[in-house]
Symmetry: C2
Subunit: 284 residues, 2 copies
């Protein structure tokens, strides 16, 4: 019987360290600031925004929300984003996606200033993730996965890590981050033949496939660490992950719950990236 | 006993198709052109340049070489590269690397026009490789690997592909390209524990680790396809790959030789990318 490993202690540890860093910056007269750019008022954006603002404020990071009308034109949106790029008091920018359909993500991603792009929207940061260039910003969710593994002392170096899912949000970037930790990384997806056999060789199993409770203990090696990145709603209307936690925990050594696992760590990563961006912009 | 699969037939097939495409472009008054930017006169650059020029010329692609002095300053180099970016007659640019030490690759990679960057120097193209954005240009060597597998009808979809090496030149991009072909992809490297066991599960084994004849038949599953990206010199002074071809061929179904394998295909990929860039720039 394995152990549930929660996100909160990880988030708390990151936040405590950041609070000290921010205090030191303030002594130098520098206040890190996050500006959120949101189009419309989508419920899940608002929920994440509340969490992000609360986290940043508790750490001492200044925040601002730029809410733009749902029907904003692309030209106007780009003009507004450039203003945030040019705002010297803003060090980190989070742009909520997906956009309404009049806005082209493939155009706008080239507009955000890469040095302020704290959630890997810019292609410059995508390339830096692949190149293992530490000056860049990996997306918050895959970064949270790595922080959890490190916090709970799960060995990665030389170990077999299997990632289920090849999205740009989770699968591909987390694979690159696991490579940076010197894991041997396998990427599985919908076309993978005999996926349970492939997954059950993993010392570390990262699940990000977007299907409620799809991964049961047949996918889990005895003693493996399982990190569940999924957020789904089950038949009873409750939040659940991509893994069947109750079943997997019988074989895993550790497994993150949903809710209360990876999702609890992402806003601390966001805050961490804002502080990092602030330091870089101040040559610290 | 497996079969040696050579690069020449692959290169010939690509070249034949390109020759037709170039003829059709010329009817429209368009001549695709590659400009090579070379600093100094390094022997291996010159050897590759000769092959690239010969290949392009045989296909009907115009070529130009801009040779710059070994001691050129970074500002002057950037000025010259921008001229090539702005030259409307040039559709594809190949910049030889590594540079002499006064030139910073991490600065210059942001200068090359992404739409003309036919060998994936720009971060924009690195990101497109990761995102599977077909408007971009993957590096020529990993692209050659995929073309060889396709030419010889090696199945990739759902199959286990193992890549040895995690460089930005071969390992990481070829892993992304194999994912695009729907393979289940494992990336191994120097820290991988029990590498022969991991590799000998591969239906498709890509070897790009840079060590002469390191990979013997213990790494090869019976019936696997082996693509050897290495170019090394053995004790006798002969060119050899990262695989011990004579040993591996006993277990592999197919294996590329060195020389005469992947290396024979890269200049055709370069030519293919120049024609693609030319068409994109002419909205064709």
């Amino acid at each position: 019987m394995g152990q549930l490993i929660k996100g909160k202690p990880v988030a708390d540890a990151i936040s405590a360290a950041l609070t000290k860093e921010v205090e030191e910056l303030k002594v130098k007269g520098i206040v890190p600031k996050l500006t959120i750019v949101r189009v419309g008022a989508n419920g899940s954006d608002l929920a994440y925004e509340r969490g992000a603002l609360k986290r940043c404020q508790s750490i001492g990071i200044a925040t601002e929300v730029k809410e733009l009308p749902e029907d904003i034109s692309q030209d106007k949106f780009i003009e507004e984003l450039k203003k945030v790029n040019d705002d010297k008091s803003t060090h980190g920018i989070l742009v909520f996606r997906p956009f309404p359909k009049q806005l082209s993500e493939s155009v706008i991603k080239y507009v955000i200033a890469p040095e302020k792009d704290v959630d890997c929207f810019s292609p410059v940061n995508v390339a830096k993730v692949m190149e293992n260039d530490q000056t860049g910003f990996a997306p918050c969710t895959p970064s949270a996965v790595i922080e959890i593994l490190k916090h709970y002392n799960v060995p990665m170096k030389g170990k077999k890590a299997v990632v289920i899912g090849r999205s740009m949000v989770v699968g591909k970037p987390v694979s690159m981050l696991l490579l940076n930790e010197h894991a041997t990384v396998t990427i599985c997806h919908s076309r993978t033949e005999n996926m349970p056999a492939v997954c059950s060789e993993a010392d570390v199993l990262i699940v990000g496939i977007g299907k409620a409770k799809m991964i049961d203990s047949a996918y889990v090696k005895e003693g493996a660490a399982v990190i569940d990145v999924g957020i789904n709603v089950d038949e009873q209307g409750n939040l659940c992950g991509d893994a069947d936690t109750d079943d997997c925990v019988n074989k895993a050594s550790v497994i993150t719950p949903v809710p209360g696992g990876v999702g609890a760590v992402t806003t601390s990563i966001l805050a961490k990236h804002v502080v990092k961006a602030c330091k870089q912009q101040n040559n610290l």
